[in-house]
C-alpha cells in the first residue's frame, strides 16, 4: 500500500502498510531503536492522516509478514462477513464507530472480525482518553474455576514470588495478599527455578492451599509451557496453563513455542479439565503474557512497530480462547518504552486492542528502576487502566517483586484502586473474602487459624 500526505507544507510519501503503521505510532523508544519510527512529528502526523483514510479491507489485504501467526489469524477470519460489516470503512470511520455509544451493542458480533492490525491502526488514531472511553463498556467475561470480567469487577492476580521458590515464603505472601482481597483472578507464581520437580511442587502447594481454604480462584506456575506439560504428565493438576507469546513466529521461536506446541498444550489442559467437570465451571484454561518490545528484543519484528506486534501477539493468543491475557507493560525497559508517558500510553493501547478483539485483558502496571518512571507514575497508570475497565492487575507485596526485581502494583494499591473506582473483587471471591476476613486486611490479631495452620505445615515441611 502506498500513500502520501502533506503536513506543514512538506509532503511525506509512504511505500507500505508496515511503514504507515510504524510511523503513525505514538512515540516509543523501541520503534526508534528498530529504525522504523517517524523521523519528525510532522511525518508522524502525515502517517496518521494516511492511516485515517485507509480502508480496513486494505489492511487485511496486505499481511505484514508471511508467517504462521499471520496465517493462523487470517484463516479464522470470516472474510465475507468482514467485507460486509467492516471492510469498506476507513480507520478514521471505524474509530468513530468504536467511540459511539451504540458500539457496545454491535461489538459482540464484530469483535471476531477485528484483526490485530486493524485494532492497532485504530489505537494509533486515539487519544489516551479515547482509549479509556472506548473500553469502559466492553466487558469480557471468562470462566475457568471461577468467573472474572463482570461489570464492576476489578480482579487481581496474586503474585507471591520468592527468590528461591521457598514454599513457606510463597505461602506467607499468598496469605497476606488474600487478606487484601487479591487473588480473585489467580494465584500465579513466577518460578525462580525452571525444573519440573520444583514447578510441580509449587503447583501442588497452590492446589492444596486453594482447595483446603476453598478459595474461589485458580492457581498457576508461570514456567515454560513444556515444563508445565511435563508436570501435568506426572499427574499434577494445572488450573491454568501459562505461556509468554509474541507477535511473530520468529519471536515465538525465541520464546521456545510455536502454534503446534500451544495447540498440544491447550488440548492437554482441556482434557484434564474435562475429566473433572465439577472443578472447572468454564472452558477457559490458558493464561498468556504479552508486552510491547518482545519481538524487537529477539530481533524478530520484521519492520513491524511494537504496538502492532503486541496486537498480533494478542491475536495469536485469541486462537486459544484464554482465561486471561496480561500485558506486562513496564517490565521490558527503557530501550522499548522510555518513560512513564510511553509506559502509560502502551498500557492503554494494549488494553484497548485486546478488548476490541474480545480478549480478557489485564495489565501488569509496572516499572523497572532504570526507566524514567516511579511509584507516582505507576499509581496514575493504575487508575487509568482501572477506569478503562481492565479485567485484572497484579498484587505484589508492597509492589516490590523480590524475584524478578521490578516494581508493580501492590496489595494495598489494588485495595485502594477498588475503593476509588467503586470496584469489587470477583463475586465468588468477594463473598469468600468477607467470610474469611470480614472484608478487612489482616493484621497480627486476625490471622484465620486454618490458613495459619497450613502455613505452619509448610514451614514444617509437611
Amino acid at each position: 500500500m502506498k500513500g502520501s500526505a502533506s503536513v506543514g507544507g512538506e509532503r511525506f510519501a509512504f511505500g507500505a502498510l508496515a511503514e504507515i503503521l510504524a510511523k503513525a505510532n505514538e512515540p516509543k523508544s523501541g520503534d526508534v531503536l528498530a529504525g522504523i519510527a517517524a523521523a519528525s512529528e510532522a511525518e508522524r502526523m502525515a502517517a496518521k492522516l494516511v492511516l485515517a483514510d485507509t480502508r480496513l479491507c486494505e489492511i487485511v489485504d496486505e499481511p505484514l509478514v508471511d508467517d504462521e501467526v499471520t496465517s493462523a489469524i487470517l484463516s479464522r477470519l470470516d472474510r465475507p462477513r468482514f467485507d460486509t460489516a467492516l471492510g469498506g470503512l476507513t480507520v478514521g470511520e471505524f474509530r468513530e464507530r468504536v467511540l459511539s455509544p451504540s458500539f457496545v451493542s454491535e461489538w459482540p458480533g464484530l469483535r471476531g472480525l477485528v484483526t490485530p492490525e486493524i485494532a492497532a491502526a485504530t489505537a494509533k488514531l486515539m487519544s489516551n482518553l479515547d482509549l479509556v472511553r472506548a473500553t469502559v463498556a466492553l466487558r469480557v467475561e471468562t470462566t475457568c474455576r471461577t468467573t472474572i470480567g463482570q461489570p464492576g469487577v476489578l480482579a487481581a492476580r496474586l503474585q507471591p514470588n520468592h527468590p528461591t521458590d521457598d514454599l513457606a515464603g510463597i505461602a506467607y505472601s499468598i496469605f497476606d495478599g488474600l487478606s487484601y482481597g487479591c487473588g480473585d483472578a489467580l494465584v500465579g507464581v513466577n518460578p525462580a527455578v525452571e525444573s519440573v520437580e520444583s514447578v510441580a511442587a509449587i503447583l501442588r502447594m497452590l492446589d492444596a492451599v486453594i482447595d483446603e481454604l476453598a478459595i474461589p480462584t485458580q492457581g498457576c506456575v508461570l514456567a515454560h509451557v513444556t515444563t508445565q506439560l511435563a508436570a501435568i504428565e506426572r499427574g499434577v493438576r494445572a488450573d491454568l496453563l501459562f505461556q509468554s507469546v509474541a507477535g511473530t513466529a520468529a519471536a515465538n521461536r525465541a520464546f521456545g513455542v510455536d502454534l503446534a506446541l500451544l495447540v498440544e498444550a491447550a488440548d492437554a489442559v482441556r482434557a484434564q479439565h474435562e475429566a473433572d467437570p465439577g472443578r472447572y465451571a468454564g472452558r477457559h484454561a490458558m493464561y498468556f503474557e504479552t508486552g510491547q518490545g518482545s519481538a524487537l528484543s529477539s530481533e524478530a519484528h520484521h519492520g513491524i512497530d511494537q504496538l502492532t506486534c503486541e496486537a498480533r501477539a494478542q491475536g495469536f493468543a485469541r486462537l486459544f480462547d484464554p482465561f486471561l491475557i496480561n500485558s506486562v507493560v513496564g517490565f521490558i525497559g527503557p530501550e522499548y518504552l522510555a518513560d512513564a508517558g510511553q509506559i502509560t500510553r502502551a498500557g492503554l493501547e494494549d488494553h484497548f486492542v485486546g478488548k476490541l478483539m474480545g480478549l480478557p485483558m489485564g495489565a501488569d502496571v509496572c516499572f523497572t528502576n532504570h526507566v524514567a518512571a516511579d511509584h507516582n507514575s505507576n499509581d496514575s497508570a493504575l487508575l487509568l487502566l482501572g477506569a478503562a475497565g481492565c479485567n485484572f492487575v497484579m498484587g505484589v507485596p508492597a509492589g516490590d517483586d523480590i524475584m524478578l526485581g521490578y516494581q508493580s502494583t501492590s496489595y494495598h494499591d489494588v485495595a485502594t484502586a477498588r475503593d476509588i473506582l467503586g470496584r469489587r473483587p470477583a463475586p465468588e471471591f468477594d463473598a469468600w473474602h468477607r467470610r474469611s476476613f470480614g472484608g478487612h486486611p489482616a493484621d497480627e490479631a486476625t490471622v484465620p487459624a486454618a490458613i495459619g495452620r497450613r502455613i505452619n505445615d509448610l514451614v514444617a515441611g509437611r
Binding site: S173, Y180, A214, G333, H370, A398, I402, G405, A450, N456
Partner: protein, 274 residues
C-alpha cells in the same frame, strides 16, 4: 475444610502469634505491613521510597578510571580504560546496541596496549550499577588473578569499559584474542539491592555471540554471594569452559543444593542486562 470454617473468631496460635516475624524468616517480601485506610503506613511508604531512591542514585552514579576503586586496580596490574559508543547516560539506557560496541579510541587503545592472547582477560564494566563495580569489582578481580596464577594462566592487563553492556565482550574477544574473558558488571538496581555485581564468562568471545554463548554468576554483593564464593564459582566455570572448549548453555555450572538454597536463584538474576 470449607470456607465457612475460616471465621474471624477462629484464631491462629503458635508461631503465627506474630506472623511478621515468622514470615521474615521465610521470605524477603514486605509482608503484614498493616495499613492506613487501604494505603501504606507512613514508615512503610518511606522505607519503599528510600530503597527506590538508593536504586535510582546507584543507577545514576558515575564511575570512571579516576574512581578510587579503579585506581586501586590500576595501581596493582595496570588498567586500560576505554568506552563504548554510548555518549551519555540517557543514550546508554535507550540504546543498548551502542553499549555493546567499543568506540574507535577504545579499539585503538586496546590494539596498542592490551595483552594479546592471554588465558584470562578480566573486564570491568560499570553497567547499570556502577556502585556494584566499585564495591565488589576490585576484590573479585584480585581473587581471579590469584586463581589464574595458581592455574598457571597468563593474566592480561584488566580493561575498564565505561557505559558497557554485556555484549561488549564480543569486541573484547575480537581485539584481545583472549582465551577466557570475564566481565564484571553492575546489574540493574532493585529495591532489595542496588549494588549487585554479575560475572559473565565467555570462551574466545567473537562477533555474533549472544547470552547463549555466555555463563553467568550473579548476585555478587555484600548481602548475596560473597566475593570469595564468587571467585570460587567463576574459577571453576573458567576451568570447565577451557575443558569444554566452549561457553554458554551447553556448559552447566555444577551447583550443590546448598548453594541453590543459599539465596542464589538459578534463573532469577534480577535485572539481567541485555
Amino acid at each position: 475444610m470449607t470456607g465457612a470454617a475460616v471465621t474471624r473468631a477462629d484464631r491462629a496460635v503458635g508461631s503465627l502469634a506474630d506472623p511478621r516475624v515468622s514470615a521474615a524468616q521465610a521470605t524477603p517480601a514486605r509482608l503484614f505491613l498493616g495499613s492506613a485506610g487501604t494505603s501504606y503506613r507512613t514508615g512503610d511508604l518511606l522505607r519503599l521510597r528510600v530503597d527506590h531512591a538508593l536504586a535510582k542514585d546507584a543507577l545514576a552514579a558515575e564511575v570512571d578510571a579516576d574512581h578510587p576503586a579503579l585506581r586501586e586496580v590500576a595501581g596493582r596490574w595496570g588498567l586500560i580504560a576505554v568506552a563504548t559508543h554510548a555518549r551519555s547516560h540517557r543514550e546508554y539506557l535507550l540504546r543498548p546496541d551502542l553499549g555493546r560496541r567499543l568506540d574507535e579510541d577504545g579499539i585503538a587503545r586496546i590494539q596498542q596496549t592490551a595483552t594479546r592472547g592471554a588465558d584470562l582477560q578480566v573486564v570491568l564494566g560499570d553497567g547499570l550499577s556502577p556502585e556494584a563495580l566499585a564495591v565488589s569489582g576490585p576484590a573479585v578481580a584480585a581473587g581471579l588473578r590469584a586463581e589464574a596464577v595458581g592455574l598457571g594462566w597468563s593474566f592480561a592487563t584488566p580493561v575498564f569499559v565505561r557505559r558497557a553492556r554485556v555484549g561488549v565482550l564480543n569486541d573484547i574477544g575480537i581485539h584481545t584474542a583472549c582465551r577466557v574473558a570475564v566481565l564484571l558488571i553492575g546489574e540493574r538496581p532493585g529495591l532489595q539491592t542496588h549494588r549487585s555485581l554479575s560475572a559473565y564468562l565467555a570462551f574466545r568471545p567473537k562477533a555474533g555471540d549472544t547470552d547463549a554463548e555466555r555463563n553467568l554468576v550473579c548476585n555478587i554483593q555484600p548481602d548475596g554471594i560473597s566475593v570469595r564464593a564468587a571467585v570460587e564459582r567463576i574459577t571453576s566455570l573458567m576451568a570447565d569452559l577451557v575443558a569444554a572448549g566452549t561457553s554458554g548453555i551447553t556448559v552447566k555450572e555444577r551447583l550443590g543444593r546448598a548453594e541453590l538454597t543459599a539465596g542464589n536463584p538459578v534463573r532469577a538474576c534480577p535485572g539481567k542486562i541485555p
